[in-house]
Symmetry: C2
Subunit: 375 residues, 2 copies
């Protein structure tokens, strides 16, 4: 078991990473929260419950925990107030109180909804995150961001609510559908791209092992991504500074998701596309060398294919206006000077955004070849 | 202008109290928030806007502020997720961003919804409270509690989100309907009851002036109540200890509101009834002397009449189970040893609750006389 500490000023917590962690979840949870909670409320999806619910519940019984299970649909389109209100209603029904503990067992959507619900139920009760997708394990479940989507954009409502503990069991990835697994990889490529050229190179060189879900490769990827995220979050919990780097690929990515009503892309896929757009925006305004853009295309494409893009420029530009990263009308972009060397800039003309979008559209028009046209 | 400081560790702020404060709101807001916000979003109700919107907007224009106005219905039944999602949608529509400032102009419901929406929009933007009812001025607008109701109970979802500034203009109370004005008085009686026997005695002795809304009496009441609340909140922002004292009268009060679907009682009225129930629960279990109960009845009744009570015991007992003040199945009650000497106890048998309820029901059966039966 690896133990990665997220060193926040007021709420340090551990991320426990390893194989077979789910079986020990109850015991670890008792250890981390010390006083036994009056009640544990597990929030999960029907699919995850079928696959892994029993393992978790057995560990809870073994630890003598009093628990209830609430099911909510996953999928980006479930991240609504409507669903969160249902979850809160179920808390009341199960007689949750201020000493209760919420446990999120699922992918990023479950982690976000359960974390948000915990943060506002009776003005805040604790949450433990047990992410079950690669994306949630490497990214969504740590850092304390929670949220739901508004019709105007992604994650526009939410809170910062740090978990008491995060339990990452890489075994559960074995049941993840191929497309979801690949989607998670793009968030890990992002971690490499913004702060660890070695991790990025590892992902370029070992696509075969990684796609086969070789267990030591997976453990390596997840732990490295978690270390990067833990460090960045500890330095800037509220995203006033360096935490914004984690948004690399997310500016265009979020717009693509909203433009397609969260139907066409998995979040990780949108980030993959967003990173491709970002390196081309970077080349268009002279920040990103073409060789860096090419590395990004080559690495991203080795984990493809990604769904095609046909969102018009106007839609993307208008959605950028209501993005959280937009302040006083100008949008912050994270761009790359090199792999591992990001910059944040709000000085991106609409023409550069259009160019980035056009490359996405044409790249995928050319039957998803690796070739990228630069003029 | 009186300036009352709420000395919180990470977010100290001022409450400015006086007549004609609304005309200077824009200037005071600029002073308190220093950097001019990219956009001010005023959240108010149609009624309040008609009465006082122009005064506020004039002061904003004079201060050169860029602002939009959003209307939402007030009334306890408007404190829903549905309404809050509408407010958040309007934020997006008005192009609010992370640097925007929310201004709540209205009663407790507007202050709660606007504060909650601000606290979760883009994971938190600042709010300034400008309460316009006596209840909100003396209580709801300071302390940072926000929330909406769930079908299972009052304020079951919410956040702690301290305002940047609170502006209290006692002039605006001149347009408050009589019933709402009287409802606010009960929260101030509560402040006296839990921590200031002098304030309580003042209210007992000066009901005539207070009911006439004599301006110096009103200013005195509001400032004294604010000082008490500011002190208690500063000592215990998150309500883990002494802040619970502010819930005197609220345990039964919330149950009465929920049992009548927030239709029959104004919040302050429910608190008035809740305090009467609390002193009788206190006498039933030997904590409250009968003379103290009688003082409470006499003072509360001089600001009556209160709506009658016919909620059955079973309903109240069941609602107590899902109250925020219930932990591990037992409910915290604030009871009085004397005026100004509260105690918190979770050791209240159902029989005592039933007795408190029966006194409420019979007191109002006896055509609202002051007489209270003790056996």
């Amino acid at each position: 078991v690896k133990r990665i500490k997220v060193n926040l000023e007021n709420s340090a917590y551990d991320v426990l990473v390893g194989a077979r962690m789910l079986r020990e979840a109850g015991a670890n949870l008792l250890k981390a929260t010390r006083t036994p909670s009056s009640k544990c409320i597990v929030v999960t999806s029907p699919v995850v419950r079928k696959l892994w619910g029993k393992t978790l519940e057995d560990s809870f019984r073994k630890a003598g925990l009093n628990y209830s299970v609430i099911e909510v649909d996953d999928g980006e389109r479930s991240k609504t107030f409507r669903n969160m209100e249902k979850v809160l209603g179920a808390f009341v029904q199960h007689r949750a109180d201020r000493k209760s503990l919420v446990i999120a067992l699922g992918g990023g959507v479950i982690c976000d909804i359960a974390g948000f619900a915990a943060s506002i139920f009776m003005r805040g009760i604790p949450v433990v995150q047990i992410p079950t997708t690669l994306l949630a394990q490497a990214d969504a479940a740590i850092g304390g961001k929670t949220g739901v989507n508004l019709p105007g954009g992604k994650n526009l409502a939410g809170t910062f609510h740090q978990p008491k503990l995060v339990i990452v069991d890489t075994d559960v990835l074995s049941t993840l559908p191929d497309r979801e697994y690949r989607a998670g990889i793009f968030e890990i490529i992002k971690c490499g791209a913004i702060s660890d050229a070695k991790l990025f190179a590892y992902m370029t060189a070992n696509a075969g092992d990684i796609l086969k879900r070789d267990s030591s490769a997976v453990l390596h990827l997840v732990s490295e991504a978690l270390k990067i995220k833990a460090k960045i979050v500890a330095e800037d919990e509220r995203e006033s500074d360096n935490r914004r780097l984690l948004n690399f690929g997310h500016t265009i990515g979020h717009a693509l998701e909203a433009a397609t009503s969260y139907r066409r892309y998995l979040h990780g896929e949108a980030v993959g596309l967003g990173m491709l757009a970002a390196v081309n925006i970077g080349t268009a305004i002279g920040i990103t060398p073409i060789s860096v853009a090419q590395k990004m295309f080559s690495t991203v494409n080795s984990y493809g294919p990604l769904p095609p893009v046909n969102v018009p420029d106007e839609t993307v530009l208008s959605l950028l206006g209501s993005d959280k990263k937009t302040v006083n009308g100008s949008t912050h972009f994270v761009l790359l000077k090199d792999i591992g060397r990001p910059v944040i800039t709000s000085d991106v003309p609409a023409a550069a955004v259009k160019y980035g979008m056009e490359v996405l559209r044409s790249a995928f028009r050319q039957s998803r070849s690796h070739q990228v046209s630069h003029g």
